[in-house]
């Protein structure tokens, strides 16, 4: 028998007890160790460490399940490969399930029996979260969002000043005083959201979308109370925190009386707010919620904005955010938009549902602890980009943008990284 469990370890196991349902138990019992997932995982491909094979990650969690939830595991753990939930196991879980998994979901597509591997990874993150074992830098990003309303702790005044500064510039650029960036205006059709890195450090994408909204004649607003499209509590594995953040968005949308919430270009933000959110708050949303990618496709399809592909003739490729393509099935919309706004688009290989992660997913961009690994696994993406011989990489995700900027520097790719909104804004003709 193993050592007596500490209170903290009991807390983690208690969380596992609570989470065990048919979905999780099926995932924990189904892996046949065929090994196909190995070469689907960027960590294993780039670093060659067998601990990073998705099947191994699943088994790490399943070995705990067997130890405490099966008869053989309880009596003779060694017979069934069950492990004690001790500090060594827990450290390995933090290292491989936070620090060596972007939850990109590529392994599910290649699993011979379709085990939802990231679901197992997330379940274990939830256990670790319950035990306060979330890596410090990821937790600090979640805490900033919970305490200040946005993950970069931007004060409201600073945010508002930045928006009016951008509005002034927009009016000059378009030579039109009616071009606005509306804030807290009730009764508008759309509530738009942002990734806090936009107002803080990269506001060109805000100006681009404001131009698109203006040219489309859209009725829209931002909110100072809740504009953050991210929800890092999804990655830290804390459903209560995630629900608080989701509820804020719902409350503001209801208060302002909008029809539609449009999520800024953000992979995990789209997944959290659109697909996970109703489960966290246990309620359907009383409004429509879509991603910016879908909105841009809609505007072009419906002729709300006029675009000319000749405005963007540089060779350009597209990086697909994992959460949009593999979770959300949003694959064709971004390609449709690029087909109408650019003339020299080249796919990476592989792309779409088979696409590799940028390397910064799963909260890894925020986790300084695993910086070296994050850049190392990004080499696959860097090589893919280089092979396209393009000048611009478009990606509808601000998190991917930052990781790609890092890869651009690290692997000397020599490209510019842009959002889809920026490409569309440049293609607009009156």
């Amino acid at each position: 028998m193993g050592k007596k469990l500490t209170e903290k370890q009991k807390t983690g196991l208690g969380k596992l007890d609570n989470m065990l349902d048919a979905r999780l138990e099926t995932a924990l019992n189904s892996c046949v160790h065929c090994g196909l997932c190995g070469t689907s995982c960027q960590y294993f491909l780039a670093l060659g460490d067998a601990r990073f094979i998705p099947a191994h990650k699943v088994d790490l969690v399943a070995s705990i399940y067997r130890r405490y939830h099966t008869t053989v595991g309880k009596i003779a753990p060694k017979l069934t490969g069950a492990r004690d939930f001790n500090d060594e196991t827990i450290d390995e879980m933090v290292d491989t399930l936070f620090g060596a998994c972007t939850m990109c979901g590529r392994c599910i597509a290649h699993c011979s029996i379709g085990v939802d591997i990231p679901h197992v990874v997330l379940a274990c993150r939830k256990m670790l979260s319950e035990m306060d074992m979330v890596p410090k830098s990821l937790m600090s990003t979640v805490n900033a969002a919970l305490e200040t309303g946005n993950n970069m702790a931007i004060p409201t005044e600073e945010f508002v000043d930045t928006l009016s500064w951008l509005e002034e510039d927009l009016q000059m650029d378009l030579d039109d005083d009616n071009a606005k960036i509306p804030v807290n205006e009730p009764g508008k059709k759309i509530l738009y959201t942002l990734n806090p890195r936009e107002p803080k450090f990269f506001p060109l994408s805000i100006s681009a979308m404001a131009k698109v909204f203006h040219k489309a004649g859209e009725s829209w607003t931002l909110s100072t109370e809740m504009y953050d499209v991210t929800n890092y509590a999804y990655y830290s594995g804390n459903d209560e925190h995630a629900a608080i953040i989701t509820q804020r968005l719902v409350d503001v949308a209801v208060k302002l009386g909008v029809d539609t919430v449009v999520l800024a270009e953000c992979g995990h933000g789209s997944r959290s707010h659109r697909w996970e959110g109703p489960n966290w708050i246990k309620e359907e949303y009383p409004f429509r919620i879509i991603t910016t990618v879908e909105l841009l496709a809609e505007y072009i399809r419906d002729g709300k904005i006029k675009v000319d592909p000749e405005k963007n003739t540089m060779p350009l490729t597209l990086h697909d955010p994992c959460n949009l393509v593999r979770t959300g099935g949003i694959v064709d919309e971004q390609r449709y938009v690029l087909s109408k706004t650019t003339t020299n688009f080249r796919e990476m290989n592989p792309y779409g549902r088979e696409s590799f992660c940028c390397g910064g997913g799963g909260g890894n961009l925020a986790m300084s602890e695993y910086n070296e690994r994050r850049l190392a696994i990004g080499k696959l993406k860097a090589d893919q980009i280089k092979a396209t011989e393009t000048e611009v990489v478009v990606t509808p995700c601000h998190n991917c943008v930052d990781q790609l900027m890092g890869l651009n520097q690290e692997f000397k790719i020599g490209v510019e990284i842009r959002t889809l909104g920026e490409i569309v804004a440049d293609a607009i003709v009156d």
């Binding site: 830098s137 600090s140 990003t141 900033a144 993950n151 970069m152 702790a153 931007i154 600073e158 000043d161 930045t162 500064w165 951008l166 990734n195 806090p196 890195r197 107002p199 803080k200 450090f201 990269f202 506001p203 060109l204 991210t230 953000c266 961009l365 925020a366 986790m367 300084s368 602890e369 695993y370 910086n371 070296e372 601000h398 998190n399 930052d402 900027m405 890092g406 651009n408 520097q409």
Partner: protein, 105 residues
């Protein structure tokens, strides 16, 4: 926590290469960090931005928004991204010796 060695000198940095101990910062360190991340030789404009970031940080304990940097240094927004290829956060703030900001940067 990690040790970063540039030109034979060692600095304590976080996993992302941001300086751990603010007291370690000086202009020579800034120049070394700039060469290390591909920013290159720091010009007068670079210094204006670095100093603006440091002043704001000393006053408020936070990095300034890029708007403030533009307004106080008269450098145009697009030019900031050219001056610092890693951007205002992983580029300029790191060179200015600030800790890594939270969020998607």
């Amino acid at each position: 926590m990690a040790i970063k060695e540039i030109n034979g000198k060692q600095y304590e940095v976080d996993g992302d290469g941001f300086l751990q101990n603010p007291a370690d910062w000086n202009e020579e360190v800034a120049q070394l960090f700039a060469e290390d991340d591909g920013t290159g030789e720091l010009t007068e404009k670079h210094w204006a931005i670095v100093n603006c970031i440091r002043n704001h940080w000393k006053e408020t304990d936070m990095a300034p928004p890029v708007r403030k940097i533009c307004q106080e240094t008269n450098v145009r927004l697009r030019e900031i991204y050219t001056l610092f290829p890693m951007g205002p956060a992983r580029g300029a703030c790191k060179i200015a010796g600030l800790p890594k900001p939270d969020g998607c940067v």
